[in-house]
Amino acid sequence: MKFGIQVNEGPFTHQASDSAYHFVKAAIEKGHEVMRVFFYYDGVNNANKLSAPQADDRNLVKLWGELASEHNVDLVVCIAAALRRGIVEENLADGFRISGLGQLTEVGIAADRLVVFGD
């Protein structure tokens, strides 16, 4: 199956990004395709490379980036949501790209299922 994923929360306050990450990983391991992960609302904070969690905890910013490079997953950060929250090219983590909200609609059309992770 072809999945589109929407992540609506940042990497710390809510579990949404963790759940999405595990879902994407499991889907790929089972042979499904993840066409795009779209980060919206506070989800854009998953792409902040200045984020520095404590060393003994998971670092979702890095984990997403690694997933992107290992499996060629398209990680898209909504530009309107990102600008508000100070996520710009200068602090954009590896593996992510900034683009428009149309990318969410597009993957909604193209994927068999759009799965939304948020509150």
């Binding site: 398209d74 949501a81 593996g95 790209r97 149309g102 609609t105 909604g108 059309i109 759009l114």
Partner: protein
């Protein structure tokens, strides 16, 4: 990372946008609205739904002066315009609906006259049926 594009030509899906939160207090209402507006360019079917405190998003006469936040409620008028354009344009296949859940509306003492856009009022059961017909559901 380079731009990735998918071929979406000729595909029309049923999108539903579920607005559940009050207009101010969290950013969800504003950012769902932005997503709805962008989707118009793709000429997809859209059901824009207001449930729970989300029904307050389209309340008439909002005044945000005291909380120093932008009153974005006039923008819902653009959704209504898109809906009417789609209805009038014979070359356009897309159908837009603006739906309010009856139970949420009544629990808050509101009537359709309190809204700044014309709405369809559906019961929770009727809304569940419409929801089951959707292919993409985006909520906030």
């Amino acid at each position: 990372m380079s731009e990735v594009e998918f071929d979406t030509a000729g595909v029309v899906k049923n999108f539903m946008y579920v607005n559940r939160k009050a207009p101010y207090g969290t950013i969800y209402a504003l950012e769902v609205l932005e997503a709805v507006l962008i989707s118009a360019a793709f000429e997809q079917n859209a059901a824009i739904v207001f449930v729970d405190d989300g029904v307050y998003q389209i309340k008439k006469d909002q005044d945000t002066t005291a909380i120093n936040m932008k009153n974005f409620s006039p923008t819902y008028g653009i959704i209504e315009m898109e809906k009417e354009d789609a209805e009038e344009d014979e070359d356009m296949d897309m159908v837009w609906r603006i739906i309010v859940e009856k139970e949420s509306m009544e629990a808050r003492g509101l009537t359709p006259d309190d809204f700044k856009v014309e709405v369809e009022v559906l019961s929770s059961d009727e809304l569940a049926k419409v929801m089951a017909e959707q292919e993409v559901v985006i909520s906030g």
